[in-house]
Every structure is written in C-alpha cells, then in structure tokens.
Subunit: 456 residues, 2 copies
C-alpha cells in the first residue's frame, strides 16, 4: 500500500463523518476547495444517531438536545431547515431519595433546607471558580497546577457535606461527564462547567442544555450535511495511516488512498490515537491522546403504546441516585405518540453492565423504570439500547476528557496542528466542549485553519 498512488484527491481529507467532520467539509467546499470525508461506519453522524421507532418516527440514541447559548448548532439547524421542539416537561418530576418519593414541578427538587443550602453553596463556589478558567487555555488558570492535581471527587468531598447533597451532585456530575468524579480533576470539572456557560445551564432542561430537540432527530443534521456533500462522503472507509510529506498528505484506508494537501482528523482523541502517523506524532500530542479516555454511557429508549405517565400527572423525568438507571426522561415524538422514555446507565453503572448480556440490561432498565412509573413501565412495546463503549468506532460517550493532571501537562496540544494535520471533534471545542455545539465549533475552526494554510 505504502508505495501505491492515491486513488482519490482533494484539497482537504476529513477523517470521520460526525458533525465536526461534516461541518468542516461543508465549509471547505463552500470556500471553493475540495474535500473528501472518510467514515469508518456505513452511516454518518458518529455519536449522533437516530433509531426508527416506526411510522416514520425516530428517537435519539446519541447526542440529543439543544439549548440556550448553543448558538453554533442552532444556526446550523436553521441553515439546514431543521426545526426544534421543546423537551416534554409538563407534569410533575419525580425524585426518589432512599424511601422518600417526592413529586415536584420545575428544575429544582424540593430538598430539605440543609441539603438545599449545602448543594447551593457548593454550586455557587463551583460557579465562581469556573469563571476564572480561560476556556481557550485552561492551563493558565490561576493556581492551575493545584486545581489540576486534585480530583474533582476530593473537592466534592470537602465542599459538599450532606450525604444527600453528595449523592445528588455526584450523580449530576456523572450524568454530564459520564465518568465518576474521581476520574477528572477539579480544573477539568471547572473547564467543563465554564465551557457549558454555567452549571445551571449545563444541567437544566428548561433554560438549559436539555431544553429542545431536533425535529426528525439530531442525526438529521448529519444526514442533511452528508446529502449536500453527496459522493464526497465515503463510507466503510476506516483510516489506518496518515503519512505526511513535503508536498502533501496521504490518507490511507484499507481499500484506497486519498492524496490531499491537508487533513482534518475529526475523531475522539482515543480513536485518533489508533491511526498510524508517519512521521510519528510529537510526544506532546501523543501524550494528550493517551490522557483523554472516553466516558461511559449505555443509552436506552423504551417505547410504549402511549405516554401513560402523563395521564398520571408525571412529566416522565425521574431520578434515583441509587439505581443503576438513575435518570429517565420523556422522549416521545413531538405529537406525544407513541410514549417513549429515555434512560441511562452512566459512568460506574455503564461499566458494571457493559459486559453483560442485553437481556440482563433490559431487565434491569425496565425494573428501574417500573420503580419510577409503575408496572406498565415493565412491559414496553420495544426496547432500544446503545452501549457506546462497545462501539468500535466510538469507544465511549459522551466525550473524551483529560485525566487529573493532564490539562496542565498536555492541554496546549489539544488544537495545535501537527504539520498538515488539523484536529477537530467535540473534545477540541472551547464552548460546549463535548456537545454537538462544540463539534460544530471544532469543525468550523479546523476548516478555517486548513483553508488559511491552503491560501498560504
């Protein structure tokens, strides 16, 4: 292979047809340059995936919601003619703490005054600290070494003192990071919060990152982008090798080779690390990729003949930090039919159940849903699940995050091009890092870099 001639040529080769790669290719094409997108799977979207639940309706198995300040993905959707609709929030939410079963309205559960004060104080502290992080270079945060050498779990243990408070905050963190708080540093957590505007915006449904959904499912964004790019997107083409020379770059798949002037690698860092680079990447970049493992999520969508919980005055949002499936939300189509609940095995729980048989996971998930919504929840019409860590071409969700100590040691390599290689993917975003919005930002930024270099 190494000596054969390229079988495709383009100004820019893009590795990965997730949102980041597709957005990059679109921008390059719009600028009058040629792009070719190489996708390992037989579909586009990467971590954004619809599943067909019949009658032309879909639900989201990956990247899901959109909310305030996520301006880039919102603008993309507008451009592509994709509307949004609000996440269903009518009715009462449910929180179960030990034997207490509490129904409430609005974003914040009615905790005891002590717990509320405890959680509120920690949130405020976290918010203040997060504001100090310069999002483009978190390693320059005042006291960065100290903040990066402490696990976020240690900080939580020091700053949240009630057991319920720890349970609630801990699970929220696991919910957004898809990793236990022990696996990121305080600096990493502060960056994540700051990148998502603030903690309230990050975790809220109304007024937050879970506020709206895309009509036709979030993957529609990727599908429409790919349709525009047409046969410039090549499926079943895992990239094995990226070889740079003085005049260009060879991007080698198993069956063919693309010759290009620049390449944009739009993959999670873990997958990017599994490509062979010639010459080998600098140790800083390689070290970065060694220190950015993916989170762990098994996402479940359960379909019922109707959204029966609504008739009982429930919103479908339920939370029990002690269950393997700690979260559920109403995920029915815009017209409310059929009824769909989305639920998550996250972080520790995802790892616990990832190696098990699907029938066990299904039983556990339905048992959890039954505990939230009663016996009808145990007998769905259909059960869909996606274990993102088991997927060869993802290897974890929602995103890769730096391990403790890594932001200060390797952070500066995150977006730094390596010769003709530019780096995209939600993990490289400044704003909404790890989200669809961040993926769009990263694709735009990498395309701009590549275009500027082409014009040199």
């Amino acid at each position: 292979m190494a000596s054969s001639q390229p079988t495709e040529v383009a100004d820019v080769a893009v590795v990965g047809a997730g949102l980041a790669g597709l957005v990059a290719a679109r921008q390059i094409t719009k600028a009058g340059r040629t792009a070719v997108v190489l996708e390992a799977r037989d579909r586009v979207g990467g971590r954004v995936l619809n599943v067909d639940i019949g009658a032309g309706k879909v639900v989201e198995m990956g990247g899901h919601w959109v909310g305030p300040t996520q301006n880039r993905v919102a603008e993309l959707a507008t451009t592509l003619g994709v509307d949004t609709f609000p996440t269903h929030t009518e009715g009462e939410n449910l929180i179960i703490l030990g034997r207490r079963r509490i129904r409430y309205r609005g974003e914040f559960p009615p905790l005891s005054r002590v717990v509320k004060a405890d959680v509120g104080r920690a949130q405020a502290r976290l918010g203040r600290l997060a504001q100090r992080v310069p999002l483009e270079h978190p390693w320059d945060t005042p006291g960065a070494d100290r903040l990066d050498s402490m696990s976020f779990a240690t900080w939580l243990n020091r700053n949240v003192i009630t057991p319920s408070g720890r349970h609630i905050i801990g699970k929220h963190i696991e919910g957004v990071l898809a990793a236990p708080a022990s696996e990121v540093s305080l600096l990493g957590a502060l960056f994540a919060v700051g990148s998502a505007t603030d903690l309230e915006t990050m975790v809220a449904v109304r007024g937050g990152a879970q506020q709206d959904r895309f009509v036709g499912g979030s993957q529609r964004l990727a599908i429409l982008l790919a349709n525009e790019l047409d046969d410039r997107v090549i499926m079943d083409a895992p990239v094995r090798r990226v070889a740079q020379s003085r005049v260009g770059v060879r991007v080698e798949c198993e069956r063919f080779i693309v010759g290009a002037r620049r390449v944009i690698v739009a993959l999670p860092p873990v997958l990017a690390s599994r490509i062979t680079y010639d010459p080998p990447l600098p140790s800083q970049r390689d070290g970065l990729m060694q220190h950015m493992p993916q989170g762990s999520v098994i996402k479940v969508n359960v379909v019922y003949d109707e959204a029966f919980w609504r008739a009982e005055g429930l919103s479908g949002q339920a939370f029990n930090p002690q269950l393997p499936v700690a979260w559920a939300l109403d995920n029915s189509p815009p017209d409310g039919s059929p009824g769909v609940l989305v639920a998550f095995f996250e972080a520790r729980s995802a790892r616990r159940f990832s190696g098990e048989d699907e029938t066990l996971r299904r039983r556990v998930a339905l048992e959890c849903l039954r505990s939230y919504f009663g016996t009808r929840a145990a007998t769905p019409q259909e059960y869909f699940e996606m274990d993102w860590s088991a997927e060869q071409w993802t290897r974890g969700c929602y995103f890769g995050q730096m391990t403790p100590g890594a932001w200060t040691q390797f952070g500066s390599a995150l977006r730094a091009p390596c010769g003709r290689i530019h780096w995209a993917g939600a993990e490289t975003a400044v704003r909404w890092n790890g989200y669809m919005d961040g993926a769009v930002e990263s694709g735009e930024r990498a395309a701009s870099e590549a275009l500027a270099d082409l014009n040199d």
Copy 2:
C-alpha cells in the same frame, strides 16, 4: 489482506520482542510448542536497550538495574549466564536543596530533623497503607473507592507538611513513576509501592532496586533470549490486526500473516490499544487501555574520558529537585572506564523538553551536570539520549499506569484473557509491576495461560 492465507503458523503468536514476549516465547518453545515473535522494530528488547560507547562497552538507555526480591529477572539472568555487578556507590553523594550543597554517605541524605521526621512519618504511613493492598486485585483493598478517588498529590499535600519534604518525596515519586503525583491515585501509588516490596526497596541503590547492573547491559538478556529463539523472532513486523475465529487467531502484519491458536500481546497497554481487534475487544478491556497512559522519561548517558568525580571523593549520585535533570548517577562500565554519568529528564521535565531540539536538551543536561560536578562535566566525549515518549514503538517510560479512579473501574480487565488473546508486559505484573522483573513474571504467566489452553 483479510482474505489471504497465513504465511506463517505457530501454536502461539507473540506480539512484541521485549523481555515479556521473549520470555513467553521461550517458555512455550521449552514446553514443546511452537511460537513466533513479531517485533515492530529492527531490534529486540523493547524498553531495554544498550548503547555502544566504544571498545566493546555498553551502557543502559532503558530498563537498567536489578535488586533484592527481583527474583525472576535474576533467575533468568543466571540461566542465560549473565552476571551482575554492583552499581557504583563509593564516595559521597550530593544533594542540593536551594543554596545548600550537602555531601553525605549512605542511602539517606542528612536532612534537618524536622524534614527527616516529616518524611519519615509519611513513608511509614505509606508503607502501612501499602501493606493492605492485595497485589493481585488492588480493587479489593479496604476502602478502595476512596483510595482510588484521591490523587496521590492530594495525599502528599495532606501528609507531608514541610516544603523540603514535599520536594524530596514528590521528586522521588516522579522518579519511580515518571509521572507527577497528580496523575495517579493514592491506590495506584500504594499498589506501586507494594508491588516493589516496599518504599525503601523501591528507591534505594544499595539494598534496593538500583543495586546491581547486568554485565554487558540489560539488553543482553533480550538478545540472548532472541538468539535462542533464532528465526522465530521476526523483526520490522508491526502487528496491525488480530482476528479471532472459532478455530484460531490471525495475527496480521503489513507484509505477512501468522496463523496461531493463541496470541500473547506483550506490549504496553497504550500500544496494545492501537492494534485493530476483530471482533472488537470488550469495553472493559478497551476502557482499561484508555486509562493506562505511559510515563515520561528522557534518559541521558554522558561519557567522559574518566570518572573524574571519583577522584574528588564523589560517588556520582547527585540530586537537586529544582533542576530539570534532578538525578544523576555513576554509570561507568564495571572497570570504571570511561567515566559515564546517567541522568534523567523525568515527568514534567521530560514533557517540557521532549518537543525541543536535541542541542537544547544536551545543553540543559550538561549545565545540570556541571552544577553537580563542576566544569569538567560540561565537556564530555559523548552524549547519548533516549526520549522514550517520542519512540513510536514505546510511547513512554518507564511504564503505563492507571489514572485516578481506573484501578477500581477497570483493574479486573488487566490480565483477563479475551478469547484467544492473552496479555503480557510489565504493566500486567503482580510483583515489580513496570520493572524488568515484572516483565519476566508477565511473560511466564501469559505463557502458562496459553499452554494450559492449548492442552484443553
């Protein structure tokens, strides 16, 4: 490639001709089975490497010393007829703390009473905690979740209170782990200490892991093993894909394919993660490899016409925790000629200087040696360096370690075979994890597993 016939066959294919892989292949061969070893480089030894300094003499650029309780590598050396000789320790050691320059004899520098008490207390505490770790399954340590959710840096900050004490212990830790204390958990550090018998044995020269050297250099062990295996070791053969079927396993290199009944992957976890597996590995195993980055070391050997420091009553062992090259030791050949100093850029310092030009590193290293040993140290005959993180087929030294939280989440996947795949390499060792001794243990263990399966 995927459809072509194997061009080599063996009972067991071994990936990697480091000590682990070679020991495994030898054991398989001795049991009357066939093994073939596939090595990406054009040499054997992996992280064990000699450099020729002329006149038939060599020094160690990678794995180096051997000491008490390292029985497996010692036994291997005996079997192969490789003798040891003591690391040079005659004369006074040097420690520089701020503006204080202290010459002393023996293993322990004459610290102030306060610092000595501080360091001693922390060492004792660490030792007691380490004894509680069951080395074969550290995730079962009492309180494992708590120990694994705290960075070792946090523990040090709480348990070592004098600045000098922190400097000294911190640098010792960076010295043995080749990573800042922020990048491993307390549980990880306790395992490392326990695996190396105890802290004293781990860090000492006399009576410890740096006590002796192998005549002819440590790589001689690998070279002699490879000589025994003869043409069963194939060089320039990076393995790209491992495909399992019901009847066997195909191990695919770029130019040929080995068909085998079992495969032993004897690589650092980071490199093992860069092979393509078919079927894909279980998420637990993949997650493990995502959470075991390599440490960072640039090792330097500097050759002088004579060991001039000896004439001045110095041993050649020097330490200044504030310099980029914090350590130096006498590394002259057994007869003391020429004079050689070995020195290290470790952890933060290795990362700081890895991307720089060799001339800068050389200047910095010689400047540090000059500050220890005077002007003669600045004008060597030869300068050798090895940046292990920049090496495509190593990507870091001394070894891969689990990031905070990972031992409890992924530890059980460390040695668990995946179908026909067995895992070796120093990172999988119970005793002397990360050392040459651990590599030997791992090769023996993996070979025993594979042989037992062959006999099923």
